[in-house]
């Protein structure tokens, strides 16, 4: 079964990618979609077998590299952590495959698109089922490739091509860290296998590694380097710049790759390597800081974006920040829980946005929308559910709410408790998390009101032709909506509650909440009641403010934007990251390249070397040109003279000794 799950999508990608001319468009779409759905069913089965049934196991497939002690294999590792990821990946992927039948219906390159989607699915599956760091790196870069191909899918568009390159290169910056981390792991542990490394990690607590003259605790350094990789893939502060631009790709891609699966790989990495992170306090604190910074930063930028997809992209970025600061605080199971629920409601929001874009004939700018809920009632309903889930609406004391309510609140409450226990930045994470939750509520409702309510601001013809999406697009939305509503409620106990003690097996610790309340010798582990209400409270405030600005005082935000005050400029320009990076890195690289080429190679090396020699000794290339028929002799002749001279010199030299 595991083989079908992992290699089914690969097979589909190969067949659809290479033979679509022979088998036709329909067949290519059928085989990719069919095999991905099959993989989803298989994953569900594996989830019950592995996570619920507790049958963790690893299949060894083949040797990848075997050089001395550097021994790396291809494997499928199944434990609860990978089983959770399998379910997320294959279920969202198959829904996105189905959705794309409708969304991409008019695209002439559908087979290529579906082949890429399946290729991505395979790469992601090989990432999460790796049993060693190097195979994970394979999947890691593989999803980067698929992301590159899919962002640049509409290759005629210059902006799409640039965004694709930006995504790949920014990810490579992260991979630079990850690769070095893997090297450091091999250097310290002599292996890259997860099980062996994690078993040996406690024994390496005092190992010191010198890097650029600085002495690091080896585990801290490894943890930091791995985290740099995670920052790239999961679009964390400093390396987030590619994610908004990645929205150039078709919307189903954004839902699959840039919301539900690939961008969560960084969180998965930190959770997978938690035995290392538990030993690395400084790096964990660093992760917390980066995570909370991202959560806040992305939420502020999300306030001032006008492209419907970019708002959701920044929202993704922000939610990933939540997952990271949870992981940084040691709340691995809570981070995974949020990853799990987030996959459903964020994919729902993206596909819903796709439905809007589809219905409005590829209009993405919210300034040209408004009041379209009558035209797109079902989409509107689904987006509402997604928004309620994202903002974490629910009733604290009786514990009833949508998916985001359980997972986000769990993170915030446990961050508070972590702060109370003295874990660095715990309180800060809580406070920033609360603020960001308020901002999340504001920008999410802003999106809803801006898009669906008020008066229509676009071109009338588009509005008249606006239409609800076909069923093939709506059904995935319904299914995701079910997940967005119930995923938290149903799985709370298993992920972070009483069931977590057995659910995770050896793949993750159950987390302080489960251990403190249900574990052996549990003494109860509850934050004060006001902490429970704080997230819901700020969510309500965000909603009211958004309602005020975008419904009651409709038109006011546009006037504010028109004034273009410094704060607005700062936010709508995304804190000027792109401008700064462009100036420093892009231009810097170009300038350095030119300097080395024209200055180094041409002036210095060639100038002093061959050209200089040519000019002086040989009298310039012109004379050589005259002799062009005599190369062979010329060469042999010079050789002969050289040999003669040297022999004479040698004999004289040897004789002189």
């Amino acid at each position: 079964m595991a083989y079908i799950v992992v290699f089914g999508p690969l097979l589909a990608a190969i067949v659809a990618g290479l033979f679509h001319r022979q088998i036709g468009v329909k067949a290519s779409m059928l085989i990719t979609t069919g095999l991905t759905i099959l993989a989803a069913l298989g994953s569900a089965w594996l989830f019950f077998d592995v996570a619920v049934g507790g049958n963790a196991r690893t299949y060894q497939l083949a040797t990848w590299m075997a050089v001395g002690s550097f021994d790396v294999s291809w494997a499928i590792k199944l434990d609860t952590l990978s089983a959770v990821m399998l379910v997320v990946i294959t279920s969202v992927s198959s829904l996105v495959h189905v959705y794309s039948w409708g969304y991409m219906a008019e695209d002439p390159h559908r087979p290529r698109f579906f082949a890429y989607l399946s290729l991505f699915t395979f790469a992601m599956l090989s990432l999460v089922t790796a049993d060693n760091f190097l195979q994970m790196f394979f999947g890691w870069e593989g999803v980067g490739l698929a992301s590159y191909l899919l962002i640049g899918f509409w290759y005629k568009k210059e902006s799409a091509n640039s965004a694709a390159i930006k995504a790949f290169v920014t990810n490579r910056v992260g991979d630079f860290g990850l690769a070095l981390g893997v090297m450091a792991i091999f250097f310290v542990f002599g292996t890259v296998s997860f099980d062996e490394v994690f078993a040996a990690a406690p024994g390496q607590a005092d190992t010191i590694l010198t890097f650029f003259g600085i002495e690091f605790a080896a585990l801290e350094l490894i943890a930091l380097l791995l985290f740099i990789g995670a920052m790239g893939k999961s679009a964390q502060f400093f390396l987030h710049v590619w994610l908004p631009d990645a929205m150039e790709g078709p919307t189903p891609v954004s839902a699959l790759i840039h919301a539900a699966t690939m961008v969560t790989a960084g969180v998965f990495l930190v959770c997978r390597a938690y035995p290392i992170y538990e030993m690395a306090e400084l790096t964990s604190a660093f992760i917390t800081v980066i995570g909370l910074t991202t959560a806040l930063f992305a939420a502020t930028v999300g306030l001032a974006q006008n492209d419907i997809k970019r708002v959701i992209a920044y929202s993704t970025c922000s939610q990933l920040g939540y997952m990271f600061f949870a992981a940084g605080l040691g709340l691995y199971s809570a981070a995974m829980f949020h990853l799990f629920t987030h996959a459903f409601f964020k994919a729902l929001l993206f596909l819903g946005a796709g439905s809007v874009i589809h219905g409005l004939h590829h209009e993405q700018d919210m300034r040209h929308m408004g009041g379209v809920w009558k035209k797109l009632p079902l989409t509107w309903g689904m987006m509402l559910i997604g928004t309620l889930a994202l903002t974490g609406v629910g009733l604290p004391l009786i514990n009833l709410g949508l998916a985001g309510f359980y997972s986000k609140d769990m993170i915030l409450e446990e961050a508070f408790m972590a702060g109370a226990e003295g874990i660095p930045f715990g309180f800060l994470a809580f406070i920033v998390g609360i603020i960001a939750a308020g901002l999340t509520s504001f920008y999410s409702w802003r999106l809803i009101f801006f898009t669906f309510h008020g008066t229509y601001r676009g071109d009338q013809k588009t509005f008249d032709h606006a239409h609800e999406s076909p069923w093939v697009m709506m059904i995935p939305l319904f299914l995701l909506a079910i997940g967005a509503v119930f995923a938290g409620m149903v799985f709370r106990s298993d992920f972070v509650g009483s069931g977590a003690l057995t659910f995770w097996g050896e793949s993750l610790p159950a987390g302080p909440y489960a251990e403190g309340n249900y574990g052996p010798g549990a003494e109860g582990h509850h934050p004060p009641t006001w902490v429970l209400f704080a997230p819901v409270g700020v969510t309500a405030i965000g909603f009211v403010l958004a309602y005020w600005f975008y419904v009651v005082k409709e038109g006011l935000p546009a006037r504010i934007a028109a004034q273009n005050g410094p704060l607005h400029r700062f936010l709508s320009n995304k804190w000027y990251f792109d401008e700064i990076y462009d100036f420093v890195f892009v231009r810097g690289t170009r300038a350095l390249g030119d300097l080395f080429w024209k200055g180094g190679d041409q002036k210095i090396i060639d100038g002093l070397g061959p050209n200089g020699v040519a000019a002086t000794v040989m009298g310039g290339a012109r004379r050589i040109a005259k002799m062009q028929t005599g190369y062979l002799y010329h060469y042999a002749f010079v050789m002969l003279i050289g040999v003669l001279l040297l022999t004479i010199w040698l004999i004289a030299g040897v004789g002189g000794q």
Partner: protein, 503 residues
Amino acid sequence: MLGQLPILSALVWLPALGAVAILVLRALMRGEDQAALERNARGVALFVTLFVFALSILLVIEFDASQAGFQFVETIPWLAELGIGYRMGVDGLSVLFVLLTAFLMPICILASWKLEKRVVDYMAAFLILETLVIGIFCALDLVLFYIFFEGSLIPMFLIIGVWGGANRIYAAFKFFLYTFVGSVLMLVAMIWMYLDAGTTDISVLLTHEFARDAQTWLWLAFFASFAVKMPMWPVHTWLPDAHVEAPTAGSVILAGILLKLGGYGFLRFSLPMFPDASAFFAPMVMVLSVIAIVYTSLVAFRQTDIKKLIAYSSVAHMGFVTMGLFTMNEVGVQGAIFQMLSHGVISGALFLCVGVIYDRFHTREIGFYGGLVHRMPVYAAFFALFAMANVGLPGTSGFVGEIMTMVGAFEYDPRVAAGAALGVIFSAVYMLTLYKKVVFGELTNPRLETATDLNVREWINLGVLGFIAIYLGFFTTPITATTAASVEALITQYQAALAAAPN
């Protein structure tokens, strides 16, 4: 089964025989139909190279990978009183290079199928080149090695000088000047070694202990030659010019095989024969390697000529080789060998990709192209594959060489690995930018409207190379198991020599 047959001599001399046959054919057909003559010349060349390739496969199959020493050894006395002989043999370090050479040659012949200028000479030159290059990897005698090593320059020199582009004279001259200076110094060192050891037998020299002071000078002399061949920074500037002017097949051989001579030379001579000097100079080599990787990657980014860009990228990738070799740990050295073989396949394929569009439009200017994917989708797919392999994407052979050399380098000094890893970022920058400019975007240049996709010949060439690049990306043991015993022996001997040396 092949123990008694001189298979290495057959491999070496068969191509030369083919060349003679082609030239004889020309003499016989003088005044007759020239088209028929050219057809025959192509046919003979293809047949001979394919036959040699088959023979080399047999060689690898018969090769006993568990043995570290030389196999299929042939010895014929020749100037015996001087200690010089015709000695041939291969070990794990060289046998796969023989295979690589024999493999790339038929591809080169196929790639040159439509050549019109002096076809007979061209085919003969390639066959002679094959003889000389395989000879380099099989030679077990200094004199023999030197003859092959230097001799290989001549056909390459002619291929650039006769069939090259507009500025071929300058390029050929530059190529000659660089390699010549290096070779002369190597020759001096070889003569010194002969005088010191009294023999030119490489297998004896490998066990001969050279005095520590002498090692330094000998190492430097060999280094001068091999560094140019690699090429290492800062003696790399001949390569972009040579590539730009060389015909497509010439570039394939240059990048695919001739660049590996330097690395092979380090493995055969510098590291085992001068271990103390190698250890002494290793830090310098590491610094030069990292500079090569970072510096030339940045230079590649600014190129406007496709071939120049790929040539600079080759220099960067050879930086990984020198870095891996001088780590002198198993992962590093194995990685370096892997990287050389993999680069032979990938860079060869990339130059073929350039050749495909050069044949159609006769320009290598990046600005001329754009939007090729609209007219040449299959070509676009292959180019994407090799671009990604060049970038070192896991799942292609390019990744394996890079990661293994970097893992080895990390053990040597983490800073070196970090520097090399920087190059991995830049490689993505220049390669993807190139790909975007040439293949993606709107088709704006009207001259590209008529572009036709790959023909069968091009399809076969790129298909075979693509298959290998991916296969070796997933399954590396066919290569590393073949080289393992010899590499282990090399390292053991090296460590023993260092341990024995007085500090």
